[in-house]
Amino acid sequence: MFNSLSDRLAATFKNLKGKGRLSEADIDATAREIRRALLDADVAVPVVREFIGHIKERALGEEVSQALNPGQQVVKIVNEELVAILGGETRRLNLAKNPPTVIMLVGLQGAGKTTLAGKLSKHLKEQGHTPMLVAADLQRPNAVKQLQVNGERAGVPVYAPHPGVSSEFEDPTGDPVQVARNGVAEAKAKYNDIVIVDTAGRLGMDAELMQQAANIRAAVQPDEVLFVLDAMIGQDAVATAQAFNEGVGFTGVVLSKLDGDARGGAALSVRSVTGKPVMFASTGENLADFEVFHPDRMASRILDM
């Protein structure tokens, strides 16, 4: 019927004259529509609750009751608040004073880490850096080969002392922590100024693998730990982001597969729950499909505008 939030709110406000204070009932009806829109966009339930509380307060204020078009005014407020949350403290990559800068990638299985490693290395190389990739996922079948191919495509060296699981080596050999540590040493020796460590996908609740990630972090002392999150994720975003933040600790978020048509409410959830900035967007399968994150575009996308 009414597709966009703006349309639905316009309908909600249809009978309002735009004069005087909005009634409690008007505000409730408005809040319901906004809530629905955010939930449909996969913003996490607790995050929606908090957000709505805040919006209600603002909507009760003068700016809405005196607006010519209260519906549009509310949408404007919602949009502003979204941009404020998503955009708070955007920043660039932290580079080490004494190279190499170490960037570690973590996330759920299939989120897009290995692809991002290739993208990030290409991007940094184009900026004049000399990145090196480190293959510390020895677990997923042919993850090492996948990283090597990406490195080749990006024209960037790959440190891969162990083949990981492949048809010749069915059981993982080698220790990811050791590989990561040696990879940084290798980069130092070869004067690569940035090291990007690809790690295996893991679940938030997998205590053993989470500990492994923490051990890798401790071994390489990264300047950035980037949490790669699939933009299609639903309500699980909160539990997963919290588990990674507590289990290994991350410094920034990369939202992947934004070339899809998922609304991507997880961006809001992760930002609200962990306070960590979304730094980059991954927008395709090719290594060039990578950009800086735009909070305003994300806000419009979540609201389907």
């Binding site: 629905r36 939930l39 449909d40 966009a41 996969d42 339930v45 759920l108 299985q109 299939g110 989120a111 897009g112 290995t114 290739g118 677990q139 997923r140 079948p141 042919n142 993850a143 080969k145 996948q146 990283l147 090597q148 191919v149 990406n150 495509r153 699981v165 492949s166 048809s167 069915e170 679940l203 938030g204 609740m205 699939d230 299609m232 994720i233 639903g234 309500q235 699980d236 539990a239 997963t240 588990a243 597969k257 070339d259 899809g260 048509d261 998922a262 609304r263 409410g265 997880a266 399968e285």
Partner: protein
């Protein structure tokens, strides 16, 4: 009898449980409305009763009566042909490997086809799974080879070897990419020059939110999916979006993925799914 004992808090909790499981706003509201009506009619008095009803209604929605068997037996003197499709990174290749394991354990002769010629090391990954579970993989050694040709070759190999099943793994693709969806349709049509495709499994990641429904709709349109494999249920995600998918498309969830190992695959069970969802 009245519903006075069922406070708004109870209803809020029910609603929140469903929303948190990715059931979606529409099915959630519908379920809550149905429950409220039942509570009025049946005069339930406590939250325990409401929760029992919720379980019942959800199981009804998930529909235990659907046929969830995998079509994997030879017919008309040819192997059964299965295609595995879905968006990027959901677990297609892994699921092909696991299904191979199950079928080999049932003494069936299986052939894998590596029709993902796009992603880095995708064919190698499938071949590793093949080696792991004792299945030969038909693949191209050329990067970017025509995926439909590889699929055709795999099915031809299966026919020549009088195999029981050919399982064709395809590249991940987002449903809003028209050219990639066209390519998928073409893979299927090229296979059908030799044999009907008996099973098209859509792999869906349990962490997926509301976009899952859009995925299922478009894949169903393009290649007529016959079943869903719900992966990564070993995590904290509940996979509630499949409820809406089953209802809208009538396509049953047939399998669930419960880990990264070869044995981490199970038939879908409606009761178990609902138990976990409400847990």
């Amino acid at each position: 009898l009245s519903t006075d004992n069922i406070t708004d808090d109870v209803w809020d909790e029910v609603e929140e449980t469903l929303l948190l499981a990715d059931l979606g706003t529409e099915p959630t509201m519908e379920l809550v409305d149905n429950l409220r009506e039942r509570v009025t009619v049946e005069g339930s008095r406590d939250s325990q009763q409401v929760k029992a009803m919720l379980h019942e209604e959800l199981v009804k929605m998930v529909d235990p009566s659907m046929d969830r068997r995998l079509d994997a037996s030879r017919k008309d003197g040819r192997p059964a042909v299965m295609m595995v499709v879905g968006v990027n990174g959901v677990g297609k290749t892994t699921t092909v490997g696991k299904i191979g394991r199950v079928l080999v354990a049932e003494d069936r002769h299986v052939v894998f086809g590596a029709a993902d010629t796009f992603r880095a090391a995708a064919a190698e990954q499938l071949a590793t799974w093949g080696a792991r579970v004792g299945v030969d993989t038909v693949r191209s050694h050329e990067d970017g080879a025509d995926p439909a040709s590889v699929a055709f070759e795999a099915v031809k190999t299966g026919i020549d070897q009088e195999a029981d099943v050919v399982i064709v793994d395809t590249a991940g693709r987002l449903q809003n990419k028209a050219n990639l969806m066209d390519e998928l349709g073409k893979i299927k049509r090229v296979i059908e020059k030799q044999a009907a495709v008996d099973e098209v499994l859509l792999v869906l990641d349990a962490t997926t939110g509301q976009n899952g429904l859009a995925q299922a709709k478009v894949f169903a349109e393009v290649v007529n999916i016959t079943g869903i494999a719900l992966t990564k249920l070993d995590g904290t995600a509940k996979g509630g979006i499949v409820v809406a998918i089953q209802r809208e498309l009538g396509v049953p969830v047939k399998l669930v993925g419960l880990g990264e190992g070869p044995d981490d695959l199970a038939p879908f069970n409606a009761e178990g799914f609902v138990d976990a969802l409400l847990d």
